[in-house]
Structures are given as structure tokens and as C-alpha cells.
Amino acid sequence: MSKPILSNSAGTLQAVALSERVHWIGVLDPNLRTFDIILKTANGTTYNSYLVRGSEGVAIIDTVKEAFAADFFTRLESVARYDEIKVIVLNHLEPDHSGALPELMRRAPQARLYISQKAQSMLKALLKQDALEFTPVLTGDTVSLGDRTLSFLHTPYLHWPDTQCTHLIEEKILFSGDVFGCHFCDTRLFNDQVGDFRFSFEYYYAHIMRPFKAFVNTALNLIEPLLPLQQILPAHGPMLRDQPQRYVQRYRELSRSALESDIGADEKTLLIFYISSYGNTRRMAEAIYEGAMSIEKVRVSLYDLEGGEIAPFVDLIEGADGLVFGTPTINGDAVKPIWDLLSSLAVVNLKSKLGGVFGSYGWTGEGVKMVEDRLRGLKLRVPIPGIRIKLIPTDEEIYLCREFGLELAQELLGLRTAKVIDLADLG
């Protein structure tokens, strides 16, 4: 297949035909190196926008980052007039897709904007325009372009609350928004022509979609019945026209937990991470480990942060049911390796996991409370107050640590009895 022609002989940018009625009118941003603070890209990205022509009007699916609006409008003008545009769909409102929307609506005032139900409040906050008219849509809602029909799939949290996909029914094309996308810029545009972009696809999933695995699985339940699709057209990176179902399958694989096959369904996992300067926090960790090990059906693991890298620990944490962190307090704070780990967890879902904290200290011991607050901030539940021990633990204190471990393991299995207290007794 020949390379797509992005501009004509006079150098004017052109739309690229994806079928007789569908065109790519996106833009290339080869100079981008950092996206959204958290993502790197070695060759830039694309902001993909699409145009669908029906017998009764034209639809635009997504726009581009504002700074690239001129290229987008030039490509649009190569295949349609503004007065033909009947429908504008935003699958996702992030500024790299909504940036050219205000100007597009100014040029095509007759067009109706379709966004997801959850996008409504975001639209106002992003565009700062009260007067913008729109229609909120949910799964199953459709809009007709005559002989072409767009149908919407409500796929929230991939990776914002507002995200949705749009299905062009007659052509079996899915406009997937950020789902199945990646930051990869290649003028050959199509997955069967660009350079090897698998690493970008996986990297994008790992940083953007991974925290929302449960939502990915729910979305795939809506998308898989549409297979076989002719094309999947994401909002970034290569357009997937060659075996698009492979990318759907890969999302399904990535959204499964790798540990599922090893740990029984009736078992729980508890990870104890610690770091210790003089061995006191380590002795506490070992006692907690012993205590937790005395309960069956809980698989307990003990890890010294000094001996590991963060990335594999993040993978372990994602699959675990309970997490315990041991830190000494040094100069009024928990120590850096603990904070480094706790600031690396935005890519995984921690909600409702069990948390616990312990540590030895010299004279103040704030570290334990600080880490407990951090765990609550990360949406873990912290039902058992942490243990702080001044310098070297006594035998009695080691016993308390064993009890702490035992209680954490019992809590994981739902074996702890409910506590009833009076507010007045809490002081």
C-alpha cells in the first residue's frame, strides 16, 4: 500500500481517506516530548480527528490541540464545507481534543455537539462558555447522517470521567478516543505502515489506562460485541485498520491481573514493606510477618525496600489485598524510600485495599501517622491503628507487633469483630 499523502503538490495539507466516506483530518505533533507531565514520547504524537460524510450531512469526531487548529481546519476544508457540518462529537474533552472546538463551532454554528453525560460539567469548566449548546448521550443513543449512523458507547474513566467511544455502524468503524491510542508520530499513519509502535501502545496503556482496569473491562464488554471491526480509529497514534481486534484482545490481556492464576480465590495476599536503619523497624516487620503467617488463607510476603526497585513493587501492590509499610522516623518524617514508593502508585487502583503502618523512632515518631494519612489519601482503609516503638523493641512490644500482624491478617479475611464505641470515650 502506498504511503498516505498528507499534502498536495502546492504544499497545502490534505485530508487522508480511510474509506469513501471517512477521512482523517488530524494533525502531527512530532516535537512533543512530554505529555500531561507524566508521559514521555520519543517521536511526538498525533491528534487524530475524523470526518464522516453521510447523505444528510457531515460529522466531525474530535478536534485537536488549540495550537494545531490551523492545520486541522486546512485538512477539514480539503474535504468539506463548514455549512455541511451537522454533527460534532467529542469522545473526550481533554484540551488536546477539545482545543479547536470553540473555533469549529464558530465556523459551523448550525452543528450540534454530542458529548457524554458525564462531560457536561467539564465542558463548561474547560471552555468557559455558558452559551454552548450540546446534547448529552449514553450507550445506545444514535445520531443519523442519512445513510450513515453514529452510535455512542458510554465508556467512562478511560481515562477521564467523560470518555466515550463512537461507532459508525454501517462501516464497522470505532472512533475510540484515547482507548487503543498511543503517543507515536509517524507520517505513514496506519498500523500496517508505521514503524514498530508496540512499546508506545503498551506504555500508553500502563500509564493512562492501567489505573482504570475495571472500567477497561466494562468498556471491552461493550466493544467486543462489535467485532469484527473494519477499523479502530483512536485519538492518538497509528490508526488500526490491520487486524484491529488484536488491540482489543491485548487490552483484555493487560486488564487481567497476572497473579490471578497463582493465588486461590479464597486466599488473600498481604505485603509487608519496610526499611530500617539500625534493625529496629526490621525486627518489628519480622514480628508482624510471623503474626500474619499464623493465619491460614493469607499469603504474607516481607520485603526490604533497600533490596528492590520500585516498579516491580508497584506491580505486586496492584495485585495485593493488604499493604503494610514500616518506616523509621528520621528528623520528623518517614524516610524517602517509603515516600518514593508511595508516590509511585498513581498508576494502580488501590481503593479499599487494607493498609497498616509501623515503625521505630528515636524521639518523636511522626512518620507512622504521616504514612497512615497518605494511605487514607490513596483510598486505602486503615482500620487498625499503627504501631510506633521507641528505639529497640522490648519482648512485650515484639508481642504487640505479632498481634498487629495477626489482626491485619484476620481483617483481610473478615474475621475481626466489629467495634462499637462511644464518641465520649475517644477523648
Partner: protein, 95 residues
């Protein structure tokens, strides 16, 4: 004094507290994972789910309703820094 019984489901603790107590005052003492930002009903950080006893809480103010809406809160959500326990049984958890 009339008392209410409020359960924090995430830590499985039930507290008996005088009517009129704001949930923030109880949850912070027992260590529930409901987290707080501004603590005055403006930021939406402390949105919680009320799973039982909705009517045993004070009515949301116009301002609280506005913050809940802006934060896309669900039907059974309240701000823990604003809701006061009135009596009976209540059950809440972090969202």
C-alpha cells in the same frame, strides 16, 4: 441527649455520638479513610457514600448540593464535613 449510631464500613467501627455531631468530628477520631480538604464544604474532597440512614442525617444545604453536583457525586453521596448525625442508625464509607 439524643444519640445516633454511625458505622464506618471501611474500618468496621460503630460509634455512638450525640445528635448534631458532624461526621468529620467522628471519622477523624476513629481513623476512617474518608479524607478531608478544606473542611468547610467547599472542595468536595470528603464526599462519602451513605449506605444506610440517609434520613438520619441533616438535610444538605444549597451550597452542599452545589458542591456535590460540581463533583459529579452520586445519588447517595454527602459531604462528611457538612452532614450532621441526627439519630437512629447510619452507615457510611469513603467513595
Amino acid at each position: 441527649m439524643a444519640k445516633a449510631s454511625i458505622t464506618f464500613e471501611d474500618i468496621n467501627v460503630t460509634v455512638s455520638a450525640p445528635a448534631g455531631t458532624r461526621i468529620i468530628e467522628i471519622s477523624e477520631k476513629v481513623g476512617s479513610a474518608i479524607t478531608y480538604g478544606c473542611r468547610e464544604g467547599d472542595c468536595g474532597t470528603c464526599i462519602m457514600k451513605v449506605s444506610e440512614g440517609w434520613n438520619n442525617l441533616s438535610e444538605p444545604s444549597v451550597l452542599e448540593d452545589k458542591i456535590l453536583r460540581e463533583n459529579m457525586a452520586g445519588k447517595h453521596n454527602r459531604l462528611a464535613c457538612q452532614a450532621q448525625v441526627l439519630g437512629g442508625k447510619i452507615s457510611v464509607k469513603p467513595v
